[in-house]
Assembly symmetry: C2
Homo-oligomer: 314 residues x 2
């Protein structure tokens, strides 16, 4: 199990730079004055496919050999990784096949199909996803690109923090949401290498708090029944992401759904940008830890902006 | 009736620069490829108070003498101009009084009160607004700052186009929404001076098409019963804005509400930014005139981002 280092993230950045957006860093004087700190929002909601996931997917495909890509790529996901892999594959002239639960909203299926990927529907259980994927990969020889338990994916996700620090300089803390841990892993490696004194926090929904519990108990908890509005954060850590997070992350801050929703609304209303609940979890963590963070310069990774405008959580 | 010139807009820009945001210019490769042109969105939804109106209000107050400001400022508005004048007055240490219809949503009254302005409620008719304002101004000696029929307001609104052209250089066309005509007037003066070959278009809801009809008939139409989702565009031109628009604007493009709403949603979904219906009217105009504008470099002023998230139009 090879652990990525900062030089791998730098290499990933050089590799993907021509293909991804260098997203803007925004600030809000209202939020700064409300919270008594200075927050720098790295806007991955403006990334291609509307989420940071495009960084990892692009890096994974650019790092693969022609031989590995010969039979296309595949993954199971109904979320942003599915769209990211579909678009990265299209961009690089490779075939992508996405295993999606048969109850996925049609807007998500259409988005994936719109990028030219094939879709194979499965039952909406992890077992069915994994067995359907395994079967497809065995038959087709496609390269499986896991959404986070993957060295190159983690390196790609770390490039958002790399750009953030390059743009704003020193920070006292960086906060990223944590689901499967790919983003938080990459972020933590970048931050601890470039700003050794900075704290790194994960922001996690209380209704999917496997990372917080795993950190507390010192061993990886995988048996959770996620129940949270933050649909991007329902997954659990892998061995790889847990080992990185355990090493680098100072604390996991858990947030109830009502606080996630009110933070999401605060960002929409005050910053006039669209973020999904997963992104808002990081701002909610600042609000929850207002006293601890007072006076700090804080970086936040706004992970994505894909929401169903017909089903907003308020 | 003095008509503003480009030097007045330049002076306004120098005057307000320390107080307003220089808003970003965004592009969308998706929309460019969809529409076969290159669009530069000047994001006044990111301006203070969430709308371009803060430019004009700030310029009006900075242009007034201490004597004129001695008894405070006043206006009648339930929209973005109310908030803009309230915040500009607060920033410059002057008292603002806003005449608002008694059926204004409490979110709007709270926003104005939150900037420290006094509110006087009136009946929800133009007559009541105007007579209540007149009475207040007579009693108090406050300076009336009209939302658009005002030289300094128009100069302030023109600074958005000034910044846009400064940033992106030459353009084939610039489109701004038109309600009372302050933004379109200022925009048209800036564009026709700096880019004499560029076309200037107004985008107007079919349900409040007084500008289009006034242009067609060659005289100002004021008797309309506005019926449109674009609540910022329900007002009619003044003599001053009509004379500027008649001189400078190449065409007014009228748009039905369903097209305004679908364009608004397109911006939210694809650009991940929050704009109000008035802003979306300008993109809807590009879509309506797709053939005429094919291959062009187009500037759009996204006028604001103040929406009621509990009452979205879809």
């Amino acid at each position: 199990m090879e652990i990525p280092q900062i030089n791998h993230i730098r290499e990933a950045h050089e590799r993907i730079k021509p293909f991804v957006h260098r997203t803007p860093v925004l600030t809000s004087s209202y939020l700064n004055s409300l919270l008594g700190c200075e927050i720098f929002f790295k806007c991955e909601n403006f990334q291609k496919v509307g989420a940071f996931k495009f960084r990892g997917a692009t890096n994974a495909l650019l790092s693969a050999t022609a031989e590995e890509l010969r039979n296309g790529v595949a993954t199971h996901s109904s979320g942003n990784h599915a769209q990211a892999l579909a678009l990265a594959a299209k961009m690089l002239g490779t075939k992508a096949t996405i295993i999606m639960p048969n109850n996925s909203p049609s807007v998500k299926k259409n988005a994936v199909a719109g990028y030219g990927a094939d879709i194979i529907l499965c039952e909406p259980t992890l077992e069915s996803r994994e067995s359907t994927l395994r079967e497809f990969v065995n038959q087709s020889g496609a390269l499986f690109v896991h959404p986070y338990d993957n060295f190159n994916i983690i390196c790609g996700q770390g490039t958002a923090a790399l750009e953030l620090i390059d743009e704003v300089g020193t920070l006292d803390a960086v906060i990223a949401p944590v689901g499967g841990g790919g983003l938080l892993s990459g972020t933590s490696i970048a931050v601890k290498s470039l700003l050794p004194k900075a704290k790194v926090y994960g922001a996690e929904p209380s209704g999917a708090d496997d990372a917080a519990r795993s950190m507390r108990e010192g061993s990886r908890i995988t048996q959770i029944v996620p129940n949270t509005v933050a649909d991007g954060l329902r997954t659990t850590l892998s061995e790889l992401t847990f080992s990185i997070i355990r090493q680098n992350v100072d604390d996991i801050i858990t947030i109830d759904d009502d606080k996630i929703i009110s933070s999401m609304r605060l960002i929409w209303e005050r910053m006039k940008i669209i973020v999904e609940p997963s992104s808002a979890t990081a701002l909610a963590a600042v609000i929850a830890e207002k006293d601890r963070l007072a006076g700090s310069r804080i970086g936040i990774i706004l992970s994505g902006g894909n929401v169903d405008l017909d089903n907003l959580p308020w």
